[in-house]
């Protein structure tokens, strides 16, 4: 009896031994640093527990930055998801030749990873004051987009640039779901007299809705944590919350080290909500793809 239990314990211990390196690594280099930040958010300069630091997040300067980040993420996620869906739907169900699909998905894989600093450079070279498109429009058509109020280094400019990786991520994720729409559903709808629009509105979209909303949440988190593109594009003229936190970490510009923790904590909360929505909706979406 005792030896049986001993053997059981030994086996369990041996079982766990195999995952210890992984657990130890992620504990020290992922979980503890994050927990450290979260605790710091609830600590005052004297080290005691306080909610004052978190309350400072609602002061205008920081609240504005959070709000700016949220708006950039919302718009770029909504437009990215919407337009990305249209493009993917057009290619997969719009009567375009089938050979277009594979290159589109491959290209989306590249474009989704073509983010950060180089992406900003590409857009500056295209739509900046000396960019290719800006100059062509001015020299050939007499249209000066900069006197018309366009500015790449602005809120909408940033959203426009973010669309590059947002749309491609959408196309990448939604294409399998679109291909999973069964032919029979469309045929059934048509034989019942549904028009193309009715089929999309009453059959395809409800089936795709969890994937659409889930991907939207993912895109939101994706742009909320982004910093390099904005840093390279706008310097610090658009003070996204990531840009603020970056400056704070580098030079303690807010004169309160604990405020950095509070900003980071606020960011974790927002991305955690967005990602939870994504994970829940993705499991829902999978019920139709079996």
């Amino acid at each position: 009896m005792a030896t049986a239990r001993g053997a059981y314990i030994a086996r369990t211990a041996a079982n766990w031994a195999g995952v210890i390196p992984f657990l130890a690594f992620t504990l020290i280099f992922l979980l503890l640093p994050t927990v450290n930040i979260v605790f710091g958010a609830f600590r005052g300069p004297d080290g005691g527990f306080t909610l004052d630091t978190l309350a400072k997040l609602f002061e205008p300067r920081l609240a504005d930055s959070f709000w700016l980040s949220i708006r950039v993420s919302l718009f770029s996620a909504a437009l990215g998801a919407g337009i990305g869906f249209l493009v993917a739907a057009a290619v997969i169900h719009g009567g375009l030749p089938a050979w277009v699909r594979a290159p589109m998905v491959t290209f989306s894989g590249v474009a989704a990873n073509f983010a950060g600093v180089p992406l900003a450079f590409a857009f500056i070279a295209t739509l900046g004051r000396l960019g290719l498109v800006t100059i062509i429009l001015k020299d050939w058509f007499g249209i000066n987009i900069y006197t018309m109020g366009f500015n790449l280094i602005s809120f909408w400019g940033l959203v426009f640039v973010y669309l590059y990786f947002q749309m491609s991520l959408m196309i990448l994720i939604i294409s399998p779901a679109l291909e999973g729409l069964k032919r029979e559903w469309r045929e059934a709808a048509e034989s019942l007299g549904a028009s193309g629009l009715q089929y999309w509105r009453m059959v395809a979209l409800p089936v795709l809705m969890p994937s659409l909303l889930g991907t939207f949440a993912l895109l939101f988190a994706n742009s909320f944590g982004a910093i390099a593109t904005a840093q390279a594009l706008t310097g610090s003229s658009q003070s996204l919350i990531t840009v603020q936190l970056f400056a704070q970490i580098r030079g303690d510009v807010l004169q309160d080290p604990n405020l950095g923790y509070a900003i980071a904590f606020g960011m974790i909360v927002i991305t955690a909500i967005a990602n939870s929505i994504y994970i829940v909706l993705r499991t829902r979406a999978e019920t139709w793809q079996k």
Binding site: T26, Y164, I268
Partner: protein, 282 residues
């Protein structure tokens, strides 16, 4: 008369359905065309811009200037080495764990999966911030105190960032195998764990490993936040610096970076095509 009324509906259907289908197709082409325009123009723009350095004519001067810049060479080499270290580290961390969990601890799989998704939930800048606070010179593990320590910390940070991609690639690879049976078969034939990992599993998930590796490479090479906050001379911070100080070189760098991303994705596809036998048909 009766015959005419009978034959009317299908003809009417044909008359309205065909233009409508054509309208759908025209709209699809329009949407697709706009998509191509949006995605292609910045690429064309950056290529054109990168060739403009010499006044009045197209030239490769910006590229010459970038490639001969000792700063570029040093930071690029640094980031390439970092990427390779990250890949080895990530593989060493994820492959045995993913295998072990499939064979011995299936109950733990959701937990491991959750942990590997965390780097997507916690923004990179927050993780880097945590590192600075936890591993600074007055902490229990003062890794940022020395250059070597900071380099190691950066590699660990990159391995953490790569976890979601690495784990998913390898787990997808293992999913197509019957890991349990393969392991038992190997054990019956007298294989130890080393042999099982390196001679049985590794060849079987080779494609998956390669795709995880290339993805990691393209992510780490241009990474900015970690390198900048840990103050290491990597390629990402160099690109930001160039953006603020040069006119045409940034476009040349963007072209180079895009080519590398494209190369990595292309190699992933190529790997899938070259070793198709590793995909079990089940």
């Amino acid at each position: 008369m009766t015959e005419q009324t009978l034959s009317l509906p299908p003809a009417a259907v044909g008359r309205t359905a065909r233009p409508r289908r054509n309208a759908w197709r025209a709209m699809s082409w329009a949407v697709f065309g706009m998509g191509i325009l949006y995605f292609a123009l910045p690429l064309i723009g950056m290529i054109e811009f990168s060739l403009r350095k010499r006044r009045g004519t197209y030239s490769l001067d910006a590229y010459t200037s970038v490639l001969t810049d000792p700063q570029f060479q040093a930071t690029f080499a640094y980031s390439v080495v970092m990427s390779l270290i990250t890949i080895v580290l990530g593989l060493a961390l994820v492959l045995p764990t993913a295998l072990w969990v499939r064979i011995r601890l299936p109950r733990l799989r959701p937990v491991i999966e959750f942990i590997t998704l965390l780097p997507l939930v916690v923004p990179v800048i927050v993780i880097a911030f945590g590192y600075l606070r936890m591993f600074n010179t007055s902490s229990f593990l003062p890794m940022t105190g020395t250059v070597t320590g900071t380099n190691v910390l950066l590699a660990f940070g990159y391995a953490t960032l790569a976890l979601p991609y690495m784990y998913r690639a390898i787990d997808n690879g293992l999913r197509t195998l019957d890991v349990q049976t393969l392991t038992e078969a190997a054990q019956i034939l007298g294989a130890g764990w080393f042999t099982i990992i390196f001679r049985v599993m590794l060849p079987n998930v080779f494609t998956a490993l390669l795709s995880g590796a290339f993805l990691t490479f393209s992510i780490v090479l241009g990474e900015y936040v970690f390198a900048a906050l840990l103050d290491r001379p990597a390629f990402g911070p160099y690109m930001i610096w160039t953006g603020g100080n040069k006119a045409y070189e940034p476009a040349a760098l963007a072209v180079i970076a895009f080519a590398i991303t494209w190369g990595c994705m292309g190699l992933i596809q190529l790997a899938g095509r070259l070793f198709p036998h590793t995909r079990a048909k089940r």
